[in-house]
């Protein structure tokens, strides 16, 4: 049971980052279907950055590794967000199509560099960044062993720092959106850009910033996946893409609230890993079990649309481009 919850939290952290970024972006009215691509970009940029640092330095310093990974990851995925913003906000392209293109592009870039990183570096065998990955996974053993082997302490304190960062970030985003003036403006832009514009809010600026910063945060999900989840290497198996779509699903599941996203993410994690803990499953029924997170999201989507509660609805301006002169 404890192991299940533990792996659920590790899994949940990946999609929590993805979903938090997407919440910010969607609150500003941009339905960015490029989340998987952006997570890919964040993952690969972080990995490449540290990989060359570790390769070129005899004794890499862990804290520098972490900084390089975070900065590279954020920069790359925010850049992806910038391309998306430019196309959808300035050039008013269709958001769905642009987002999907960003996903294709991001996964292409990431898998290309991930697959040829070894070759570009001159053949060093398996790509790995032990120091950085170690730093990302570091936890305080004294706290983690509270209550003995695999109990409370293990469940609460045995994760790398990013798992806690995700929770803090979720709380911060909640406060930002609900309690600050600028958060209010952001929501106004997402609900009704024309009204926000009339009220003197710079719609373009808010949309750009929300999408780029949101993309940067989503990118951390990819970084956490490479550094912590699979331990600092690269796998060309498309998992990040599947996780990216789950992150999009999580946004709906959380009904666009960052606090709900925290427990939602862990619940998704439980759904995802549950099959390991049900005895006597055949492989084929196991595949059906993996359907659960998606089915649950779907049911919730239907439920929310049936209830029609105002607070649970997507931002009204979601997916629509804004052009001031078009009324």
């Amino acid at each position: 049971m404890i192991t299940l919850l533990h792996s659920a939290i590790v899994f949940g952290t990946v999609i929590l980052f993805g979903a938090l970024g997407e919440i910010i972006s969607e609150k500003a009215g941009n339905l960015n279907l490029g989340v998987p691509g952006v997570m890919y970009l964040g993952a690969i940029a972080g990995l490449v950055g540290v990989f060359f640092y570790e390769l070129g330095t005899p004794n890499p310093i862990p804290i520098v590794c972490i900084l390089i990974a975070l900065v590279c990851s954020f920069a790359a995925s925010a850049l992806g967000g910038l391309v998306y913003s430019f196309l959808t906000i300035t050039l008013r392209c269709n958001q769905n199509v642009t987002g999907l293109t960003l996903t294709i592009f991001g996964s292409g870039v990431a898998n290309f560099f991930g697959g040829s990183l070894n070759k570009l570096a001159g053949g060093v065998g398996q790509v790995s960044v032990p120091v950085t990955s170690g730093a990302f996974r570091k936890y305080i053993p004294a706290l983690a062993s509270i209550g003995g082997e695999k109990s409370i302490g293990y469940l609460l304190f045995s994760y790398g720092f990013m798992a806690y960062a995700a929770i803090i970030l979720a709380i911060l985003i909640h406060f930002y959106l609900k309690k600050t003036r600028s958060g209010l403006n952001l929501r106004a832009v997402g609900e009704n850009p024309a009204t926000a514009d009339a009220a003197g809010i710079n719609v373009t600026k808010y949309k750009y910033l929300a999408t780029c910063i949101g993309a940067g945060i989503s990118g951390f999900g990819g970084l956490y996946y490479t550094m912590d989840y699979i331990g600092g290497t690269w796998a060309n198996d498309g998992t990040i893409e599947a996780l990216g779509w789950l992150a999009v699903a999580l946004v709906i599941f959380a009904t666009w609230r960052s606090l709900n996203a925290i427990w939602g993410a862990y619940l998704f994690g439980v759904c995802y890993w549950m099959y390991l803990y049900i005895p006597g499953l055949q492989r084929r029924s196991l595949e059906l079990f993996k359907m659960i997170p998606y089915v649950v999201t779907l049911l919730l989507l239907v439920f929310v649309s049936m209830r029609r509660r105002k607070e649970d609805q997507p931002p009204a301006g979601l997916g629509l481009p804004y052009f001031r002169e078009e009324r």
Partner: protein, 377 residues
């Protein structure tokens, strides 16, 4: 300049954007798109050069070889273009209605599952009857998969983008379930080529005896579908209703169109055609089923359909372009020792540019100080 403009006096913005009032002549619109395409190829060339330090022209030649080098390769390129075109045609009715069906991936997969099931369980049927059953089964399966989100959209206005997206993953897991059920040989976790010896249920050659050397039937089926969809959208009452609903749901309701019925009917149709694409992918191409049977083409087709403005013949051009890039990139990957994902990078860049060029088709850009008429692009 700044001394003249006093505070509180709005300065004329540096760039002004306005919507084009009149439709641009077709040749000019296409000129802009071609310029976008050329810019994209130049940027891709720079990217390729930066990564591998190889002459990009040589790479483009090699891509051509990869797509059309031999007659077999040409046929495979044609076959895959047709499958992609079929999926894009499936999306056209939904998109014309402004219904964001991003679930083609799943609809293709369930169509493929139905086809594979027929090939496995009904192999003793006489061939023509078997093909009929396969086609009907794939259409029905895809249709149902499309109908579900259509129903919820019509009944409770459930967000269709997110709904169809989730349906994709359910379909993928369903496929994984059937792969595990039908796996052959045991433990391989793949279905293998279905009816490898008897070739029952394989779409045969059109121009000669045998299998897999030409894909004439695929071409005929898909071009027929493309024509029918175009006629359906442009010339029929249903097509008219779809475009009215797409423009404004309220207008449609006032005009007495039964909007809910249009949603459900159109989505069932959209899913059905995607299901047929699943039939082509299984019976007409790979002769097997896996979670990769749709292979992301459900998503690529969205871009194809959107860029073509729902004109199924224009879709042929974009589908061919994307398949060409894909085949070409696989070739350069093997001959220059690069990684095949380079094709996704190039497709991404090209699509960004083509998408961006739509802006210059729809809007006019004026720079400050420019006289009337302004600068186009």
């Amino acid at each position: 300049m700044s001394e003249i403009t006093r505070k509180g006096h709005a300065q004329e913005p540096f760039i002004r954007i306005s919507k084009r009032g009149d439709e641009m002549p077709v040749w000019k619109a296409w000129g802009i798109r071609v310029i976008g395409l050329i810019l994209a190829l130049i940027v891709s060339a720079i990217v390729i050069y930066a990564i591998v330090k190889l002459n990009p022209l040589k790479i483009y030649v090699s891509m051509w070889q990869g797509a059309f080098g031999t007659s077999k390769r040409t046929w495979v390129t044609v076959r895959d273009t047709m499958t992609l075109l079929c999926i894009a045609c499936a999306l056209a009715p939904a998109f014309a209605m402004r219904f964001w069906n991003v679930g083609a991936e799943g609809q293709v997969l369930v169509g493929g599952i139905a086809t594979a099931a027929c090939m496995i369980y009904f192999k003793s049927l006489p061939l023509p009857l078997l093909f009929l059953v396969m086609i009907i089964a794939s259409i029905v399966a895809g249709g149902i998969w499309g109908l579900i989100p259509g129903f919820f959209k019509a009944r409770w206005n459930t967000n269709e983008t997110l709904f169809t997206l989730m349906m994709n993953y359910i379909a993928i897991q369903l496929t994984a379930f059937f792969v595990a059920t039908w796996e052959n040989p045991k433990g391989s976790n793949s279905v293998g080529v279905i009816n490898r010896q008897t070739k029952v249920g394989w779409l045969p050659n059109l121009f000669s005896e045998g299998y897999n050397t030409d894909f004439g039937w695929n071409v005929i089926i898909v071009l027929l579908v493309a024509t029918l969809v175009l006629i359906y959208l442009r010339q029929t009452k249903h097509g008219y209703e779809i475009s009215v609903v797409g423009d404004s749901e309220n207008t449609a309701r006032y005009a007495g169109i039964r909007v809910k019925r249009v949603y459900i009917r159109t989505m069932a149709l959209s899913g059905a055609i995607a299901g047929l694409a699943g039939f082509l992918a299984v019976s007409g191409a790979s002769h097997t089923i896996s979670t990769q049977t749709a292979g992301g083409r459900g998503f690529t087709a969205i871009i194809v359909a959107w860029l073509s403005r729902m004109n199924t013949y224009v879709m042929l051009v974009f589908a061919a372009l994307i398949v060409f890039l894909d085949k070409g990139a696989t070739e350069i990957a093997s001959s220059f020792g690069m990684n095949e994902y380079v094709s996704q990078i190039i497709s991404g860049i090209i699509l960004f540019f083509v998408l961006g060029s739509e802006f210059f088709v729809n809007y006019r850009v004026k720079f400050r100080g420019a006289k009337t008429g302004g600068a186009d692009k």
